[in-house]
């Protein structure tokens, strides 16, 4: 039924006085004051200053601060084995109690955040950059596109965890394996995103006009395709980070991620899981942090998407 809407009813002509203004040369009306012409063009970060974007930014900010200030905040060293502290419940000295090898859980969680953040902030951008480059090339050259698409299909056909198990079988567990899994899992996601963007933008009339006037493919990519892709990239980046936190957690939980004694949220959660009856906070502590981090990235991603109406 939307056919009732006029084809160009959205153009400001509708709001020009007399509707004739466009006809009289030299007599150009000012834009009506009740319209904000810059709407939809403000930078993405603005959406972090209010609403769910703000909540997400605060959540991620808190967790990042906790991780960054771990050496100051943590009451004990993360791998310090204390005397007579086997699986204690929460107390004023050990807010989250102690674990099965007499270490302070709170200190381990704080240091564990660092491992997670390093993984997230390294692996996801690396995957994004590699994926974007492959996507750009695939969008320009037909035959590379066919190859890239099929490779992406293969990677996407594996659930990330199956991929993780297969890779650790070869590489052995550790941070390296986690980073590699996340990079591999993100390449097709960003590759597809950028490829679609290239194909779409190249066909746009204003891009064709530039090509006819002599613009090279490099010019089109730099001036039109990339600026057009920044926003969906931002959305995907935040979303991928929340998934990366989850992947680290899941891999360490399964024992194929960060190797003890190095603390990470997933590995602490995995250990604590076994002692839910003696010290529930052993597991709940890292779980809450993982949840807050994932939720924070997710909210940011939603706020970006909302700002762009993607």
């Amino acid at each position: 039924m939307s056919e009732l809407v006029d084809r160009n009813v959205a153009t400001p002509e509708a709001s020009l006085p007399g509707g004739l203004a466009d006809v009289r040369p030299g007599l150009v009306p000012e834009t009506p004051a009740d319209r904000d012409p810059r709407r939809g063009t403000e930078p993405l970060w603005r959406s972090l200053t209010h609403g769910r974007g703000l909540v997400g930014a605060v959540l991620v900010g808190i967790v990042v601060l906790l991780g960054a200030l771990a050496p100051v905040l943590a009451p004990f060293a993360p791998d310090d084995q204390l005397d007579a502290s086997f699986l204690l419940g929460p107390s004023s000295t050990h807010w989250l109690g102690t674990d099965d090898v007499n270490r302070d859980v709170l200190s381990r969680v704080l240091f564990g955040i660092r491992a997670d953040l390093v993984i997230v902030f390294v692996a996801v951008p690396v995957g994004a950059i590699l994926g974007s480059l492959i996507g750009l090339v695939a969008g320009i050259r037909g035959y590379t596109d066919v190859v890239a698409q099929r490779v992406f299909d293969v990677i996407l056909a594996f659930p990330a965890l199956v991929l993780a198990i297969a890779l650790t079988a070869v590489l052995g567990p550790g941070v390296r394996a986690i980073v590699l899994v996340i990079v591999l899992a993100e390449i097709p996601v960003f590759g597809r995103l950028i490829r679609t963007s290239v194909l779409e933008v190249r066909e746009l009339p204003y891009v064709e006009a530039a090509v006819v006037s002599g613009a090279s493919i490099g010019w089109v990519l730099r001036k039109h395709v990339l600026p057009n892709s920044i926003e969906p990239l931002g959305v995907q980046l935040a979303l991928s980070m929340s998934i990366a936190v989850f992947i680290e957690g899941a891999m360490s939980f399964l024992g194929i991620g960060v190797v003890p004694p190095t603390p990470s949220l997933g590995s602490i959660l995995s250990d604590g899981n076994r002692y839910l009856e003696t010290n529930p906070l052993f597991a709940v502590g890292p779980l809450v942090v993982v949840s807050l981090l994932t939720l924070g990235f997710l909210l940011i991603s939603q706020a970006f998407a909302h700002a762009r109406r993607l």
Partner: protein, 549 residues
Amino acid sequence: MTAAPTTPALDVTDLQVAFSHPRPAVRSIGLRVNRGEIVALVGESGSGKSITARAAMGLLPPTATATGSVKVDGVEVLGASERELGAIRGGRVAMVFQEPQTALNPVRTVGWLIGEALRAHGRSGRKQLRDRAIELLTLVEIPEPDKRVDYFPHQLSGGQKQRVVIALALANDPVLLLADEPTTALDVTVQAEILSLLRRLRDRTNAGILLITHNLGVVADIADSVVVLQLGEVVERGEVTEIFARPEHEYTRHLLDSVLRLPQPSDVAEPVAAVADPTTPVLDVDTVSVVYPGRRGQAAFRALDNVSLKLAAGEVLGVVGESGSGKTTLGRTIAGLIAPATGTIRVDGRDVAATRGSALRELRRRLAFVPQDPAASLDPRFTLEESIAEPLDIHRVGTRAERRKKVVDLLDAVRLPASFATRLPSELSGGQRQRVALARALVLEPTLLIADEPTSALDVSVQADVLELFATLQRELGFAAVFISHDLAVVERVSTTVAVLRAGHLVETGPATVVLTHPQHDYTRRLVAALPVPDPVAQRARRQATAAL
């Protein structure tokens, strides 16, 4: 037209519709459509004509507040409950949509679609529904209705699809048909058929028809009376012949003046000898064919077949044809966006397809392209200055100050103030955007400009102004241009020569005035005849003459 109908099909009194915007979308519209009468609602974008039609369907968006009265066949629609409206919509009042392509569900047969409309109003029985569907298809003059009833929409042509859309609207014998730009998406020859069908249906069903259109030729062709809207108000109304012969309101006169007409054959001397071949043409299209490869075993599609054309410096070649004729493909091939399968395209004597690297860049400096859709002709992120200066940046021409100067000059040339340089496209109207696209195309002083329907998405008065500007700049700067349009009158306005395309073949070419007033080829003759003239008396005479053929 029956005498003194008891209840009007549509009676709108003092309708006001407001949104959150300070200016009401509709302020005080009153109009009446009697049964068996065709009333044309005329106005430009934003005049409130579509909102009025929506009100009659009870389809105003929830954000709208409406006051006044809208009566369909004596029943008040404003403020009616959804249940009451359900009975009115598709029953007493029905809608003919603009775009038959999207109005029909592609996975259902024609018979099912019509049956759906009937079932919604309580009819049932397989046999009865099918019989009624065939009856309706017969009514809208679709050949072999008992076979076509089992067709899917994609098996029908555009004109036949629009006939099915009309059949759907007629399914429950409405007293009022709302036709919102029913022929805008169709080719002229198909438009002519649909218009005469609508006229016959009016006589057969005695329904009132409210025709919403921006095309005054269509109005002159079939309307009985006209209501002219401007900014949500009725500025003039009357009998169609009266309005066209003696328009009283300034705006109506302005609208009528903006309409482009083809010169009459009597205005132009008999055809002279064809123009001599230019010796050094700016553009030389030599037996060019373009083939789109078939997908999944389907045959390849020949979009252009051995087309040859020459264009001298400073001339404007108008390319006309209906949809699928290959005119856009021709423009894109000349612009170098599509490679020809066979044949060569030479610009300034150089083969575009065989040129590479810096030579190609140099060649492209002399080319420019003006796209069709004002919504997409400019990068929404670029200010107007950045957009206009982009070709200069690509070729690294001039210093910053020189570029800025050039931008200001061009803004002035397309009659926009220099203060617009920092604006974004979203702050501009469609007409202003197309002028900026023109400025960008001219910034490198091209020898050949390719414009693909640059004005077809604009309102008539805006279109007239942009065309005027184009013609003036072309005279002053002397560039050659390929001007593509489906609208013969537009092409006549700006072109020196015309090429008529049909299904990839060049059917006729020659000086614009000669081809469009004394067409030699049958197809060109039909195109010219199908174009409705914005003059009710002349148009009705033409229609009868065409019918007698």
